[in-house]
Structure formats: structure tokens, C-alpha cells
């Protein structure tokens, strides 16, 4: 899973029917210490995450399909959690 920071949102009306009504958020990939990397991805929101929040993102198809409970959904990245705290070291 990936730690990311929500940095924006995508609006789309013409898309595959699975994505109708889904919230698409732009996620900055960040390091566990919180520094922003150049990587980003667009993920479906399933927990009501907002811009600026640190989130946990699944970036693998089978797991994402389990989350949305649809075995033929064309989905790979989905937000499954909002991170409150990251504790590194002992």
C-alpha cells in the first residue's frame, strides 16, 4: 500500500460506467516522514478523504476490486484509509 497526500480532485462526466459518481482524487506519493515525492496517481475515494489529508492507497487491481466488491471493475488505485499518525522507530 502507498502513503499519499490528497492534493486535488478530477471532475469527469465522460468515462467508463464504473466511474460514474465516483470521486477521483489526485494523490501525491509521500515518504513515511511526509516529504512529497514526484510520483502521483489518481485514486477512487472510498472513505470520504478531502484535500490535504494523508491517506492510505491500495495500488493493486485484485485488492481494489475486493474493496468495491465487483470482480470485473476496471480499478487499480483506491483510497482505503485516512492516516492519523505514522510512528517510525521504536
Amino acid at each position: 500500500m502507498i502513503i499519499g497526500k490528497v492534493s486535488g480532485e478530477i471532475y469527469s462526466t465522460i468515462n467508463h460506467k464504473f466511474y460514474d459518481g465516483k470521486k477521483l482524487l489526485i494523490i501525491d506519493k509521500i515518504t513515511p516522514t511526509g516529504s512529497v515525492t514526484s510520483g502521483y496517481l489518481i485514486a477512487v475515494d472510498s472513505v470520504g478523504a478531502g484535500v490535504g489529508e494523508t491517506v492510505l492507497v491500495i495500488d493493486e487491481g485484485n485488492s481494489a476490486r475486493q474493496v468495491v466488491d465487483d470482480s470485473s471493475a476496471p480499478i487499480r488505485s483506491i483510497i482505503i484509509g485516512i492516516i492519523d499518525d505514522i510512528n517510525i522507530g521504536n
Binding site: S7, G8, E9, I10, Y11, S12, T13, I14, N15, H16, Y19, L24, I26, D28, V36, S38, Y40, L41, I42, A43, V51, G52, G61, S72, A73, P74, I75, R76, S77
Partner: protein, 94 residues
């Protein structure tokens, strides 16, 4: 999924069965500030409506095939949707 911009079309004379009639578009991958990032690639267009210079989001891997109908086709990038608007928060704009 990542952002991309349509920069051209690719018209094959012969396509693998199951891919007839599927538009192939030349796509320039973008970074999140909508600047070109990486080499152009050819993607199938599941919306069949993406035109030149349009902003789209696309997916790779198995999900690229799952978007199409029939889905069991040899495809590794497919456009999932056309972007109407991108709303980036201020602090990420620096």
C-alpha cells in the same frame, strides 16, 4: 490512473480480434501539473470520444483490458475517461 493528453491517432490496418473498431490514440503522459512527463504511448480509447489536445486519465496493466468490451484483449494502456476539470489545492501548486 495517470493523466495524459491526446496528441494524435494511430490507425492499424490489422488489429487483433476483439480490438476491431477500438480507437487507438497517441497519448502524452502528464505529471500532476499537466506538464509532459515521459515518452508518448499508444492507448485504446474506451470512451471512443477523446479528441486531439483533450485531457484524459488512463490505466495500465490488466485494468486497461477490463475497461474494454470484450475485456479479454491484449491491451496495456486504455483511456478510462475524459477530464472536465482539475482542481489542485494551492500549496501543491508551488
Amino acid at each position: 490512473m495517470l493523466l495524459g493528453k491526446i496528441i494524435g491517432t494511430v490507425t492499424p490496418s490489422l488489429a487483433y480480434e476483439g480490438l476491431q473498431g477500438v480507437p487507438f490514440l497517441l497519448l502524452q503522459p502528464l505529471d500532476k501539473k499537466l506538464q509532459p512527463a515521459g515518452k508518448p504511448l499508444v492507448a485504446c480509447d474506451s470512451t471512443r470520444m477523446a479528441g486531439p489536445d483533450e485531457l484524459v486519465y488512463y490505466e495500465g496493466g490488466r485494468e486497461a483490458a477490463l475497461v474494454l468490451e470484450p475485456w479479454f484483449v491484449p491491451v496495456d494502456h486504455t483511456i478510462i475517461g475524459i477530464v472536465d476539470g482539475v482542481n489542485l489545492s494551492e500549496e501543491s501548486n508551488q
